[in-house]
């Protein structure tokens, strides 16, 4: 029997390739993102891909790996942005403290919305998250003293970032890009660890077969709540970075279209894959960037590409490539 086990181990399979890809996915993505400002047409586009790629990755953690389709992730992106923005503009907190506060606010909100929404499943879960996120939107809309209401939150410009003796000019687009990149890469590393850890496996078990996951000893509700909260934390971090980048928090940040953005980007790139959300964010934002120059109806083109992708590449662009390579090497 022991010899059988040894023999099965040596047998080459597709697992080798995917193991290698898994080990190198964070370094590879880091290199690609570091080169991004010199590849895409504009600096602004590169920063957006960075921030929305992270946002989509946070959403994918819940949707792609735990199988829970939230229509309310704008709440966590927005909570991060407003949390950091209010700390900066109203309380004069430093940039790093503001990021920490934004992420914490998003995490607490995710814990609350998660606890309320994981009681329901499937489409009902999606609807509860949508309703609760819209509730957050209307509260922010009304609380003008704090949030600036429909004019958005202003007055949070960070011009210099001090790291020890170092003073970095945050108004310089290149410097700003790499400061944000450091946070994004740190988050990606943590997410990669999480997905490879036992908890990542447990999330996949819940996605694949919830009742069997409970039957083999997993506390499914607990896994769902933790996954929801971690997902909210990552999206919250993306939100804080967006606030720092824009120096303003528009009220649209919390609107349900922002939730839809994450769904579209992840489906375009490939749900349940590590790199898919970034590929999806890049495609989406690139189409916006190119087509919005010569037509205000650029969303029409995003829509067409999205429909084509859903019809012909149901695994998403990256998901299809990865599956194709895996089949060939298997």
């Amino acid at each position: 029997m022991t010899r059988d086990i040894a023999a099965a181990r040596i047998m080459p399979s597709g697992a080798d390739w995917s193991a290698t890809a898994q080990r190198w996915r964070v370094p590879l993505l880091t290199v690609a993102l570091a080169a991004l400002p010199w590849i895409v047409p504009s600096q602004a586009l590169a920063v957006n891909i960075l921030i929305f790629g992270l946002y989509a990755t946070g959403f994918n953690l819940l949707f792609g790996f735990a199988g829970m389709l939230s229509f309310g992730h704008a709440a966590f992106f927005g909570a991060g942005a407003y949390g950091a923005g209010i700390a900066l503009a109203r309380y004069g907190v430093g940039w790093f403290g503001a990021i920490a506060i934004g992420v914490a606010v998003a995490g607490v909100l995710a814990l609350l919305i998660g606890a309320l929404s994981i009681r329901s499943r499937g489409i009902y879960f999606s609807m509860v998250t949508l309703a609760l996120a819209q509730l957050v939107y209307y509260v922010a809309f009304q609380a003008t003293d704090w949030t600036g209401g429909e004019n958005g939150l202003r007055g949070l410009t960070v011009s210099v970032i001090h790291i020890g003796p170092l003073a970095l000019n945050f108004l310089d687009p290149v410097t700003k890009y790499y400061v944000i990149l450091v946070f994004v890469v740190a988050a990606l590393y943590a997410i990669s660890r999480l997905l490879n850890a036992p908890f990542g496996a447990a999330m996949e078990a819940v996605r694949e077969n919830e009742s069997r996951a409970a039957a083999i000893g997993y506390d499914v509700k607990r896994i769902k709540l933790i996954a929801f909260t971690l997902s909210g934390l990552v999206c919250g971090l993306a939100g804080t970075l967006d606030a720092l980048h824009l120096s303003i928090v528009p009220i649209d940040t919390l609107f349900y279209q922002t939730s839809g953005l994450a769904v579209m980007m992840v489906l375009l790139g490939g749900s349940g894959t590590f790199l898919g959300p970034f590929v999806g964010a890049a495609i989406f934002l690139l189409i916006e960037d190119v087509f919005s120059i010569w037509t205000p109806h650029w969303q029409l083109f995003v829509g067409i590409v999205f429909i084509l992708a859903v019809l012909f590449l149901p695994r998403g662009v990256w998901g299809t490539l990865a599956a194709w390579h895996k089949r060939r090497s298997a």
Binding site: R193, A205, I216
Partner: protein, 254 residues
């Protein structure tokens, strides 16, 4: 034999106005293989769901190793040592055979199941445990294949392997030979006999010949109630059982 592992005391289950199971009391001795039989709709599946913790009874108590466990969540039953397999194959279809079993190994180790940081491959023993469980059911060569791509008989074997990986003291098997060919059924029977030599097993099965040859004890359910319990010989000659079940011409099936 060291006394009963599991005792059901007057357990019942109502779904709205329908009583699926009514006042059933049975105890299961350690080390025995007990088969649960009964016509369709007799309450076998409900009984199984109650004993495995998937569903809480609406009345009565379930004692496992002396403690009342009725009403505890499903995952607690598994961690205490009760695991089940399903009549309709219930696996993690996109994950490999190895990962299906490894997940079950991981779940019963408190130090491993919730880990957020350390790589799952670095938890000692889990992968080896999963592979030796796969070897036990003859699936080791298929370890890297997604569960969905396995043949029906292989999926049935994996179904058992996932349940076994929880290292249960009490193993509940729900029609393990459902949809199997005669050769596969024979192999499965041999496997069940081997498993039963090391732990307490409860078996729901339609194939009467198989049940009569394999079980130490048989529990007969009929219309949600306990009709009879005893050795295969006693059940075969029981007048009530003959009337409602064996007399219906189903004894030769399988």
């Amino acid at each position: 034999m060291t006394g009963p592992v599991l005792v059901a005391e007057h357990i019942g289950k109502r779904f709205g106005g329908f009583t699926a199971l009514d006042d059933v009391s049975v105890s299961f001795e350690a080390g025995q293989l007990t088969a649960i039989i009964g016509p369709n709709g007799a309450g076998k599946s409900t009984f199984f769901s109650l004993l495995s913790g998937a569903v809480a009874p609406t009345s009565g108590r379930i004692r496992f190793e002396g403690a009342d466990v009725a009403g505890q969540p499903h995952h607690r039953f598994t961690r205490m040592g009760i695991a089940r397999s399903y009549q309709i194959t219930s696996l993690f279809p996109q994950l490999t055979a190895h990962e299906n079993v490894r997940l079950a190994c991981q779940a019963i180790h408190a130090s491993a199941r919730g880990g957020l940081w350390r790589d799952r491959a670095h938890y000692p023993g889990l992968a080896e445990e999963a592979d030796s469980t796969l070897a036990l059911v003859g699936l080791l060569a298929r370890r890297g294949r997604p569960a969905a791509s396995l043949a029906h008989g292989e999926q049935r074997a994996l179904e058992i392997a996932v349940a076994l990986a929880s290292r249960p003291k009490l193993l509940l098997l729900d029609e393990p030979t459902a949809g199997m060919s005669p050769e596969e059924t024979k192999e499965m029977m041999d496997l069940i006999a081997r498993l039963a030599s090391e732990r307490t097993v409860l078996l729901v099965e339609h194939k009467m010949k198989m049940v009569m040859g394999l079980a130490d004890r048989i529990v007969v359910l009929h219309q949600g109630k306990l009709l009879a319990a005893g050795t295969p010989d006693a059940i075969r000659t029981d007048a009530d059982v003959r009337r409602v079940y064996l007399g219906e011409g189903r004894s030769g099936r399988g």
